[in-house]
Symmetry: D2
Subunit: 337 residues, 4 copies
Amino acid sequence: MIRVGIYGATGYTGLELLKILKRRPDVKLMWLTSENSAGQTLADVFAVPWEDRLIPSEEADLGQVDVAFLALPHGASIPAVKKAYEAGVKVVDLSADFRLHDQAVYEKWYKTTHTAPELLPRAVYGLPELHRSAIREASLVANPGCYPTSVILGLYPLVKYGLLAEPYAIADSKSGVSGAGRKTALMYHFVEANDNFSPYNIGHVHRHVPEMEQELGAVAGQPLTITFSPHLLPVNQGILSTLYVRLKDPLTTDDLNALYRETYAGEPFMHILPPGKLATLRHVVNTNRVAISTTAIDQRGNAIIVACLDNLIKGASGAAVQNMNLMCGIEETAGLL
Amino acid sequence: MIRVGIYGATGYTGLELLKILKRRPDVKLMWLTSENSAGQTLADVFAVPWEDRLIPSEEADLGQVDVAFLALPHGASIPAVKKAYEAGVKVVDLSADFRLHDQAVYEKWYKTTHTAPELLPRAVYGLPELHRSAIREASLVANPGCYPTSVILGLYPLVKYGLLAEPYAIADSKSGVSGAGRKTALMYHFVEANDNFSPYNIGHVHRHVPEMEQELGAVAGQPLTITFSPHLLPVNQGILSTLYVRLKDPLTTDDLNALYRETYAGEPFMHILPPGKLATLRHVVNTNRVAISTTAIDQRGNAIIVACLDNLIKGASGAAVQNMNLMCGIEETAGLL
Amino acid sequence: MIRVGIYGATGYTGLELLKILKRRPDVKLMWLTSENSAGQTLADVFAVPWEDRLIPSEEADLGQVDVAFLALPHGASIPAVKKAYEAGVKVVDLSADFRLHDQAVYEKWYKTTHTAPELLPRAVYGLPELHRSAIREASLVANPGCYPTSVILGLYPLVKYGLLAEPYAIADSKSGVSGAGRKTALMYHFVEANDNFSPYNIGHVHRHVPEMEQELGAVAGQPLTITFSPHLLPVNQGILSTLYVRLKDPLTTDDLNALYRETYAGEPFMHILPPGKLATLRHVVNTNRVAISTTAIDQRGNAIIVACLDNLIKGASGAAVQNMNLMCGIEETAGLL
Amino acid sequence: MIRVGIYGATGYTGLELLKILKRRPDVKLMWLTSENSAGQTLADVFAVPWEDRLIPSEEADLGQVDVAFLALPHGASIPAVKKAYEAGVKVVDLSADFRLHDQAVYEKWYKTTHTAPELLPRAVYGLPELHRSAIREASLVANPGCYPTSVILGLYPLVKYGLLAEPYAIADSKSGVSGAGRKTALMYHFVEANDNFSPYNIGHVHRHVPEMEQELGAVAGQPLTITFSPHLLPVNQGILSTLYVRLKDPLTTDDLNALYRETYAGEPFMHILPPGKLATLRHVVNTNRVAISTTAIDQRGNAIIVACLDNLIKGASGAAVQNMNLMCGIEETAGLL
């Protein structure tokens, strides 16, 4: 039995984590914290029949748990991670606070001081498809961002084999509204987002950019730049990234496809679509899968990779459980669809 | 040229009013107020190319206008209506503050003191299909609520001719989210409202109930009770009310239909569907129309009337312009689709 | 290990059934039939990574399976049910063909001859909350319709205890578009259904009416009439029925609520919301739950019951698996969320 | 009074055209054709109160009209255009049949023989922002495709001034479902398209590519290649194209913005957003506007242009009316919002 605690259980990632963990006979939820809803039950906060009571984070007893998930805003996560880590609990942090290895990069993009830089070298970037062995040994896993997971896994085979004409790619990404979290703001009001489609933070300014560049740059062995354009889609869940690359040497769609199939052979959650079929949100929503399609365009090496995932599952809580499974030495796919 | 001012131009009804009035060559917008966005332009506040600057309400010059529209929250509307009325300006108030003739009923349902009760007898309930002549003469028109317009017009022919078995009807109403206004609240967050459908304030507790009962009771010449169940639909605009009645004597669908056609003959915005066709939101959204269908069920007199309208147009801003047209003695349909 | 075959696996109920059964370590899918897609794989037909090949129904080997699910159109189901039943296989029929005990009623509403009337007395109406013991013993279960499940379970406590003032209720029901099946028709085109809301077949003409009246009439011990108004909601999944009743003697909301809690005590999938909270689609979508809220209105006994479920799960495939579990003598909730 | 006939009035572009033209006091609809719905009225075919009767195209009397609009499928349009042109009627063809000047290019992309190539040199590509004078003189206007209008107008200033580093751009476009027309197909079924987002025909294979390349190549004075990725958005109306370019010399966002403002100065329907604001569907839906935002990214000259329009209005029927206005020598903006 894995005893689990969740910090920040009342957001959308918290809800998805609860849905996954409550399906598990081998997981026991010991406590759930919420700053704003402490004292209430899950049934008060979500449309669920669960009567678990939420507690303030200061009442969370780390001695009771084997694993702590943190679904807190960035910045707020640092002291809680530190406390849990020092208590010897396995930590999966869903915030951005431990994803960037370089303190200066973190502080530049997040415009705040990192108050536990000594833990940065201990944190493993929780993308099993790139770092499975390290995750197995880790005590602190920084769960990847939703957009970066789609972009990194979408470009990884090309970068790994050095096929890009220049260390550069364009990611035109579209995300469902749950990616913005469960907080009110006019932009996320139903009437504003429904029947609408909006780019935001486009170019090279979204905070997920350094994460993509860190991971892909490490694979490339050199700095790599991503032009990244997120857009808000009128759906609840799902990210689709359309990735534009230019290859050194043109490949056929079939060859591209074979490359992706080989690179991801044996990966339980990677779904490489056959040539001629394109990945869509429907392939991934409500699952832990990443669906990828590959399309060669012309003799100049232009190609398009489409990579999709559910931002709340493989882009957050499903990945977090996948990481927990690895950290605990059990079947990586347990509880995941 | 009709010179117009709008108090509270930055909500959804304000935007719709602007869209209608800006199509009119015979209307001149003199000023637009906003408490929260004063100093900004319409283009700052909405996705429009209009550079009109918003002013605080205390800067609104009533001397410049022939007509003032008030799209303010209830309560806040009273002093502004009073001031405009006393300045001799024709007033169309889109709030609930002057819809109920009985001060005590207003104060009970709105849980606030009415600070200008002396104006209540001057206010005409702005439903042209019932009160056209009075509106033509009025200086102060209380624009009807969106739900009440659908329920009153849906039941009016039956009540007028005394056909109900008892002074009672059930209104199962469904509204798009813009009906809740342009304010943030978790219930109206895209992720909460999308893929969802929710009843709220059902039974006999929604503030639109006394309005329906006042108007239909007056037609009936006796008190009439409405069981009213509003539901939140995952669409931006539109109300559909499914009205359940029991008739004293059963009618056929054809006879019911003929009754509605006769009652509303000549009405420019009433669209009575032929027997066998049912009214839908698609019949009315983005128009000032009310679509009604009539269905007889059985020999016990059970029947269903479906009445639809666009909550922002015939349920608010379109009706307001229709009222302005009548008050100004011009073509009732001018500028309305 | 339960060996399962599915006739008609390529509709929305088929897909949902596959999703549920593929989560089960104790279920083995032996074959899947499809008339239109035989020869293709599931990945060709749905956005899934599953390579199971579809076969024509005449190749289905009943000797290989313990349980056969039939997700075929009504009429088409009869010969397949008969064959499977006679082969000694446990049958869960998701069509309407065996739901109505009275052949004449079936033939009147479905306008077709029933070609296996001798099986009607063998078929058990598969609503465990009413017929659990009979289902446990059954070889042929007629899985209930989606709308009827919401209406029957929503009214059952009131009918059981004889609380209605007359044997009559109004069901104003709203369903997501998947309820219409995976076939193209202009009414279900995205552009027609999105941003729209449409009543259809209202009054006493929808084929689900006799099913509701049969089951509730049997509980009442007398004929009972339902006015039933279905509406098409712009969502994929979910049914919400707003049920209007008049009680012999008025009850408070608390008393109504207590009655429902007692009636459904111990039921694993019935979620009775506390007084003051209303059931919504969000409570049920992607689960096998039925959420019910109870609201008393006035001293005349008017009351509103709201009953929700996911039309593809508790309204179809989840219920089918619940029935299979009961028929096979295993944990009723196995594999269901 | 302009007397108008419409061939193919029962699709989504036909409906939008009717909505615009019925607002016009100076336009008289003489006849409306439909192959599938001849004999029915508009109220039978759409959710509108209009009783105009549809006629088969062979009954259309060209002698009665000044202008003929053709909203027919490509291929089917050719003989009707020819007949109308030869009858001396001004023709606005909304199909693709006369957009490509080069017969061979047409035949390659549309895989059909062009049966009236002699008219190709007479046809003017109906984008007033590029070809206003020619449209004024034209008897035959080929109304542009919806995607091309967004891409051409989005890139035109950069191409005109020779600012691109190479004659190449990437257009990542997203369109509402009405772009696919009013015909049923599983991909456009509500349940398939809702909550989904799907790329299709990506790379260099969509039929709108040659149109973009023809118009932009002509401006450039050299061949220009577009990588074009259309995606299906879960909304009814609207196209947003995110355009990725590399400039010869980097510009600031302010400079880029100024360039667009100058290029489109005086254009009645071009809405260039100020630096820092991004174009969204909300800026354009239900209007004839094109909204454009400009974003410079880095010192390497990467930049992003976002261009939006309503595919049924500026992308089809609004542009058609704009063209009619020009051809008839009246106010270009008449009847357009």
